[in-house]
């Protein structure tokens, strides 16, 4: 029984349930968290929270949480574990790394990471650099966030997300027009959603480009129901329209943009009729949207992964960047802002150039030679390896055999060709996973390490957000023997006798180093409000300002792309499989499949074991237009099989009939597994996981190496008695 007389202590910290980094107030009684609520004094969220953050208490104290280091005792993947001590775990891992390094070289040690732990990845990177292994794989590098960064880099010379809310680029709340392209903040980042709603309350018009009638599209004045993966054509059509009708910002373009004539010429190839035929968006809607965005000033724009997950993705992002520049919405109040630097050393900066691996050594990572601008030494944002190539390397042992694989991600659920990814991971002689729960990927581990959550560790926060920085300070002692992964990498380095690239010997020293430019220490900031950095506008009007591009201007014609041999102007390419590029295949697979749209309740593959979240979204569902469903004899709630033209096999999901999708398009929920299936060590991870039937083969985007995730072809049919298994 809890003693109700023991006083409740309320601690201020920053949430780590996803990347929004909301301020939270954590109520603790007798060392036990009893409530987590939004901090009204934090400028990012102003008191609000999302379902993930509000239910985090059920994650911390979940009975299935990994609480102790464990080693595999049965066959790999059989789900049989035995608790071990931290020293046994670390001794074993260190011995395996030492052996691999001595016998096969440093390249035989690999690391995979993604969003999951929301920790300080700096330590993992530094550890790998100290080991002299370039085999670091951000498993989403080819299509998440880095494409935005690279497109912005090419256009503005700024790789910090002027075009996306994670950089606080778009200032929605002061806009007269908001254009959201291939993103839905109402299901991903409520901090951005809050600012979009503020804009709407102030009278802003909303344009949404999305193949689905999302809850964001439901609030839109204009919804552009674009055919999946044809965004570049739509953007070029809008560019052509605003140039032809001379409604672009002439003065801004003249003063600050390079390559207008070339872009104009390129866009002329995209007259309205043609664009409408390609994108399935009616001509008048293209005109309305282009006019609204170009003439209602200020207008803010946000684009995200709807554009970055196909083989024409870099040019799609570039085209939208150009549209933004033509409308002159750069660094004005209510437009898209250029970040003001913060006095804090953040994410992606820890591996200082002087102590990084050499260009030659980093080029050993898979994919660097094929996409040299995007990966390896020259990467704008940390992207060491091309993920599909990394999995090929794991599988074939070429050019390097990975003996020891460290992991803090769940690529079996998150990556296309799940079965291949699973087989690839099994090829590593020794596989270690850090996680909160035994995910389908973690189930393959030889050693499982229990990760500390944001409530159980210290962390400097603020990498993504321009206007402020603060700290996540430990609120409770870790549950069981959970530990901050940063500490674990420090201890591993000690055991191996390797020197970190940084001079810091502890998490605390490192945190203080991160905060040093601000004149504060970690302990001074613990439990305190975040520090805001004032916003400024029109920095380019300052004497001598140059955009950090080769020409010093915003490059509609990208010199950076030209230097690397890429087309410096946006161009459209029809998806490799589509009703037009492969009409015969389309007869056999008559639906365009999209997947990966996020649900607010889950953070990618995580959260399906949290009762309050799973209740809100119990099943994997495929969205089908009622007309299509009727032709196929499918009713709402029926289970249907999905087969794609990309990979053999099939997965099943539950039909959700909706008018909010085109009759020729279906959307399947991604990342679906069944943590509740305790008898199955794999937790049904291939049954409804759409990535199991999606491919990761070429053609890749020539610049980013993105695979075709948006817009492959599929067929669906009802699950019947005779085809149930």
């Amino acid at each position: 029984m809890e003693d109700k007389h023991i006083q409740i202590k309320v601690s201020r910290t920053i949430c780590g349930a996803c990347h929004c980094l909301c301020g939270v107030l954590v109520h603790v009684r007798n060392g036990h968290i009893i409530k987590i609520e939004g901090d009204p004094e934090h400028p990012q969220n102003e008191g609000i929270m999302c379902p993930r953050g509000l239910s985090y208490i059920q994650q911390i104290y979940h009975p299935d949480r990994i609480k102790y280091p464990m080693k595999r005792v049965g066959e790999r993947g059989s789900g049989k574990w035995e608790r071990i001590s931290w020293s046994e775990a670390l001794d074993t891992i260190a011995a395996k790394i030492r052996q691999a390094r001595e016998e096969y070289g440093p390249e035989s040690v690999g690391l995979m990471f993604c969003d999951g732990l929301r920790g300080n990845e700096n330590w993992q990177f530094s550890f790998m650099h100290a080991l002299e292994s370039p085999m670091i794989c951000g498993t989403d590098a080819h299509y998440c966030l880095r494409p935005q960064g690279n497109a912005d880099m090419a256009t503005f010379g700024l790789g910090n997300f002027i075009s996306h809310c994670e950089g606080n680029g778009p200032q929605f709340e002061h806009s007269k027009c908001i254009l959201i392209w291939g993103a839905n903040h109402f299901q991903t980042e409520l901090t951005a959603a809050r600012r979009i709603i503020k804009g709407l309350k102030n009278g802003a018009k909303l344009i949404v480009a999305d193949p689905r009638f999302t809850n964001l599209a439901a609030k839109a004045d204009i919804w552009l129901q674009v055919r999946p993966a044809t965004d570049t054509a739509l953007a070029l059509g809008m560019i052509n329209y605003i140039i032809k009708h001379e409604i672009y910002d002439k003065k801004f373009v003249e003063n600050y943009c390079f390559g207008f004539e070339q872009l104009k010429e390129r866009a002329e190839q995209f007259p309205l009729r043609k664009v409408s035929d390609i994108t399935w968006v009616p001509e008048e809607k293209i005109c309305q949207a282009a006019t609204m965005y170009a003439t209602l000033k200020p207008a803010s724009l946000d684009m995200f992964m709807g554009l970055s997950m196909h083989n024409n993705s870099m040019q799609a992002l570039r085209a939208v960047d150009c549209l933004m520049a033509l409308a002159g919405n750069i660094d004005i109040e209510g437009g898209n802002l250029i970040k003001t630097p913060k006095p804090v050393r953040m994410f992606h900066t820890s591996v200082e150039p002087a102590t990084r691996l050499s260009q030659e050594k980093m080029a050993k990572a898979p994919g660097v030679n094929l996409w040299p601008m995007f990966y390896g030494y020259n990467a704008t944002i940390d992207a060491n390896s091309h993920p599909p190539s990394f999995f090929d390397m794991l599988l074939t042992g070429k050019p390097y055999k990975i003996k020891v694989l460290l992991n803090a991600a769940d690529p079996v659920m998150g990556k296309q060709e799940s079965k291949k990814v699973r087989e690839a991971i099994k090829k590593a002689d020794f596989f270690v996973t850090f996680d909160f729960f035994i995910s389908p990927t973690a189930s393959l581990a030889d050693i499982l390490l229990p990760a500390a959550s944001y409530l159980e560790k210290d962390l400097v926060q603020g990498h993504a957000y321009v206007n402020h920085f603060g700290v996540t300070g430990k609120v409770i002692e870790p549950v069981g023997e959970c530990r901050d992964e940063a500490e674990v990498f420090i201890e591993l380095a000690e055991r191996l006798g390797i020197e970190f690239a940084l001079p810091m010997k502890s998490v605390k020293e490192f945190s203080d180093w991160q905060l040093k430019p601000s004149g504060k220490t970690f302990d001074e900031m613990r439990g305190e409000k975040v520090v805001s950095v004032p916003v400024s506008y029109k920095k380019y009007e300052e004497e001598g300002y140059r955009f950090p591009t080769p020409t010093g201007k915003i490059e509609l014609y990208s010199k950076r792309f030209e230097q690397y041999g890429y087309d410096p102007l946006p161009y459209y390419e029809e998806p490799p499989c589509s009703p037009y590029s492969t009409p015969e295949l389309f007869k056999k697979y008559p639906l365009i499949l999209i997947s990966g749209a996020r649900i607010l309740f889950f953070y990618h593959g995580a959260g399906r074991q949290i009762p309050w979240l799973r209740e809100l979204c119990p099943d994997p569902a495929i969205e089908i237009h009622p007309e299509t469903a009727e032709k196929l004899g499918i009713s709402d709630g029926d289970w249907v099989w999905i087969e794609t033209s990309q990979k053999e096999g099939r997965v099943k999901q539950k039909a959700e009939l909706t008018l909010g999708i085109h009759p020729n398009v279906v959307h399947a929920r991604s990342h679906w597994w069944f943590p509740e299936r305790k008898d199955d060590p794999e937790r049904g991870c291939m049954e409804s996981n759409i990535n199991a039937v999606m491919g990761s083969d070429p053609p890749y985007d020539p610049i980013s190496g993105s695979t075709v995730v948006r817009g492959c072809l599929c067929k669906i049919y009802k699950v019947e008695e005779d085809n149930r298994l």
Partner: protein, 169 residues
């Protein structure tokens, strides 16, 4: 009598269901029971356009609450500030109240075996705080207070919307 209540501006509700989870945590409500539940209506065709609405359904704390009359155990009462409360000690879980509720707002809590519905977080609001749902609503479209005071805010807003429609501004 003062009538405290919750008002939701449906124009800005976007169906995030934060209110549902905020309520669950605040009041420790088990799976399967919801004091507030956002119902999605649509997508449907309305006036030639596709439309989806989100309607947070919850106890309306009716001035003439039919649930109070329906309860034979005298377990439901109305406070002087208008909040309708179920006393779980007196409730026998017969759910006669739910049959009379025009909004489907009352469910049986399997843990307490008593009827469960919104109590406007009176433990918070009596202390001057907002209900948990209002505090966490990202659209800032939920209002708590004296319903007549809330209506003053709404009137102003609706008058602006009305003019906007007339003049097409």
């Amino acid at each position: 009598m003062i009538q405290k209540n919750l008002y939701v501006d449906l124009e800005y509700c976007f169906g995030c269901r934060v209110c549902e989870v905020a309520c669950k945590q605040e009041n420790n409500i088990p799976v399967g029971v919801k004091r507030i539940n956002v119902v999605t209506v649509g997508p449907r065709i309305a006036e030639g356009k596709l439309k989806t609405d989100f309607v947070p359904m919850r106890c309306r704390h009716c001035a003439k609450a039919p649930c109070i009359d329906a309860c034979r155990e005298g377990a439901i009462s109305k406070r002087s500030d208008g909040i309708v409360l179920i006393n779980p000690e007196l409730c026998i879980g017969c759910m006669l109240c739910s049959e009379k509720c025009p909004f489907g707002a009352i469910q049986l809590n399997p843990e307490t075996q008593a009827a469960e519905m919104c109590n406007l977080c009176f433990h918070r609001t009596d202390a001057g705080l907002e209900p948990a749902c209002v505090h966490h609503c990202p659209a800032d479209c939920m209002y708590f207070g004296n319903i007549n005071d809330i209506m003053k805010i709404i009137r102003k807003k609706q008058s602006e919307r009305m003019l906007e429609k007339e003049t097409g501004l």
